[in-house]
Amino acid sequence: MMDSDLVSLWLTLKLAGATTLVLILLGTPLAWWLSQRSHSNETSWLGNTLRNIVEPLVALPIVLPPTVVGFYLLLAFSPNNLPGELWQSATGTTLAFSFYGLVVGSTIYSLPFYVQPLQVAFSALQRELIEAAATLGASPLDRFFSLIVPLCRRGFIIAICLSFAHTVGEFGIVLMIGGNLPDETRVLSIALFDHVEALDYGKAHVLAGGLLGFSFVTLFLLYAVDRHWQNSTRTT
């Protein structure tokens, strides 16, 4: 691979890593909140209504074309509008054409790939186990790390792998807001597109094949690990 393509590879991995990290921090509490639908009290009506709105919002990026998300992001990032203006006054640069802008876009776009598997795992938790831990003196944060995370290991792994892989393949959003800067926003998918547009099919094959191989290997390993877990840990 050419030098610039290596840089693109590094950018891609950096973007996927940063996005996944942001998703772990923001998406985990979101997935938890969504999974805690309360059925007993009257006071939970508001919470459930909010969930009814937020859940489809989270799922939107699965069905929306990335160009739609990219279009709105481009508008939002503009210094003529509030979010872009705030960013500019805080940092002096635009969100568009920057790595941070890509992280914002990818986080939004990969959000459902992180939140949904995790939400499913959380919903399957047996409430009594968490209550038992509470009675043994575990605070909410303690319960989360000592009990919920180990019990939902599978959900976490799936969520992390899916959102990472999805971001690696991210194209539409980066195309709309990236600006194709070699050291900052030219990720692998953009480099590939460039090669094709310039009729440089040789280089395009290398990148496309690489991306395809990576995605396949990731998913293959994911399924394999999952099977191994199913077999060895038949949980009660």
């Binding site: 481009l74 003529n80 635009t94 054409f97 600006g179 460039d194």
Partner: protein, 266 residues
Amino acid sequence: MTSSNGWIRRQVLLAGILLSLFVHPSCYADHLRVGVAANFRSTLEKIASSFELEHHTKVEISAASTGALFAQVKNGAPFDILFAADSHRPALLESEGHTRLRRTYAYGQLVFWTPGQPANETALKQYNGTMAIANPRHAPYGKAATDTLELMQVKPSRLVYGTNIAQAFNFVRTGNAPAGLVALSLIRHLDVPAIEVWVVPAESYAPIEQQLVVLKNASSKAELFVAYIFTHVTTQLIEKSGYLAADASHHVGKGTATIARLGADR
């Protein structure tokens, strides 16, 4: 429990309805299928509608990126004429034997645009902020932009590439890039105050030749349409849209200086 008469009538009616769905107005007479690069599309639509009025031949237009059109034609898409945004790919098509005619139909004009600021040669030479241009690797406007920047020794702090000239234009329009080297045709589309725009002199860059090709198996009406492109009325329309019209006598657009100075108005 229907009478056999009524049942047959119903079937005939149904068949008739179905058949009529397949009947296409263009099946009746000769019609032309034309592919056009996105940035020339609106101009071509105006040309096509007056052609239809005059010659009673329908023109069906598909717009896409030049690259996409190119790939489609190579794979047998049934176009009669292709209006590309460059000259490189039409030449390729010709060398591979897909065409029977190739001609330059317009020259793109590059402008320097700074929304909210006055634009002129000095402003461009002194500009050191973020600038948006089309990708020079595969977009002719992009190559023209880099030619210009090099010639005038402009040093923007950041050079941002749009995947095509429309995207570069959009970067500037949304305010994400304070300045850009974009197409005059796009400026004309929007009602941009004249003071924000400076037309880059054509000799600053290699001409942005936009060429058309008539494909090998095209309808006989194709040449008629091509000739129409070079009529006075049409060339005026093309220039009003922000391009420089090409001379009908030039088959392969090589001569730069003379053509570039033709009709370069503001």
